[in-house]
């Protein structure tokens, strides 16, 4: 892995078909980004929350297959989800879900061709963060109200 002079476009050393080494461009990654910049931080969060969703799906698989196999298996999942660790997982998953969903809407708007200028990009980014916070708190309130 090496950087070009401006340090922005990471390369990796590949080989040509005749075996000679060549620098090829690599997709941007964590070391190539300024993590304190909101735009890149949110972009990385989009992928990170997508990956985190896979962990949530593991729990959904467990929950649904346990429900289908019987009361004993289901009781085990419910016991886990009701434990402290389960609550941490569920709370994290709620935040991750809303962030990925709202970030996805932001991407769909971009795909439609709108909101590319810098001020709008920052505004939509802030809206995603605020929306994530509001919806997460709302979901947790419903969750706790149903639990009690």
């Amino acid at each position: 892995m090496s950087m070009t002079e401006d340090g922005q476009h990471p390369n990796y050393v590949g080989t040509r078909t005749d075996g000679t080494p060549v620098n090829r461009p690599l997709s941007p990654h964590l070391q190539a980004y300024d993590m304190l910049q909101m735009t890149s931080a949110l972009s990385i969060m989009g992928r990170a929350t997508g990956i985190a969703w896979s962990i949530g799906l593991v729990f959904l698989v467990w929950w649904l297959t346990a429900l289908a196999s019987g009361p004993q298996a289901f009781a085990t999942v419910q016991w886990f989800l009701g434990s402290v660790f389960g609550w941490i997982v569920l709370t994290g998953l709620i935040v991750v879900t809303w962030y990925h969903t709202l970030g996805g809407v932001r991407h769909l708007v971009w795909d439609a061709g709108y909101g590319y200028d810098i001020p709008t990009t920052y505004r939509s980014g802030r809206m995603v963060l605020i929306g994530t916070a509001v919806l997460s708190v709302l979901t947790l309130i419903i969750l706790i109200a149903a639990w009690i």
Partner: protein, 128 residues
């Protein structure tokens, strides 16, 4: 003078590019994300209000036709979207080509299996 192109007229018309599948993967990622938008909002609030519910209560909820159908739709779109998302990330960062192919196939296989398992579970509960 126009820039000479090595692409055949037929290849240009087909528009499938070097991936041989055109924009299909990209498009399906968008289609599944639009599908998942209402389904996710529904599922999150539905599951949150099911917190603390017992075995028979949850079974009755899943067995309701509307819930069962929406769950099956969520699982189909969700696992497709998950596999598509993982594939894009793996294609960006996994080298060399052979390892990338193996990992992408593995993730796709896992997502397909998980989709089948969860859909089967929903159907089993709903049709019991």
């Amino acid at each position: 003078m126009a820039t000479p192109s090595l692409r055949s007229p037929l290849g240009r018309v087909r528009g499938l590019g070097s991936s041989r599948s055109g924009t299909h993967h990209w498009w399906m990622q968008r289609v599944t994300s639009i599908t998942l938008l209402p389904l996710t909002i529904w599922l999150v609030f539905a599951l949150a209000s099911l917190a603390g519910a017992g075995y028979s209560e949850v079974q009755a909820w899943v067995a309701r036709p509307l819930n069962a159908v929406l769950l099956l739709a969520f699982l189909a779109a969700g696992f497709h979207h998950t596999a598509a998302g993982w594939q894009v990330i793996l294609e960006d960062y996994v080298k060399p080509e052979r390892r990338r192919l193996i990992v992408v196939l593995l993730v796709n296989g896992l997502c397909a299996l998980a989709w089948l398992a969860t859909s089967f579970a929903v159907l089993r509960v709903a049709l019991r």
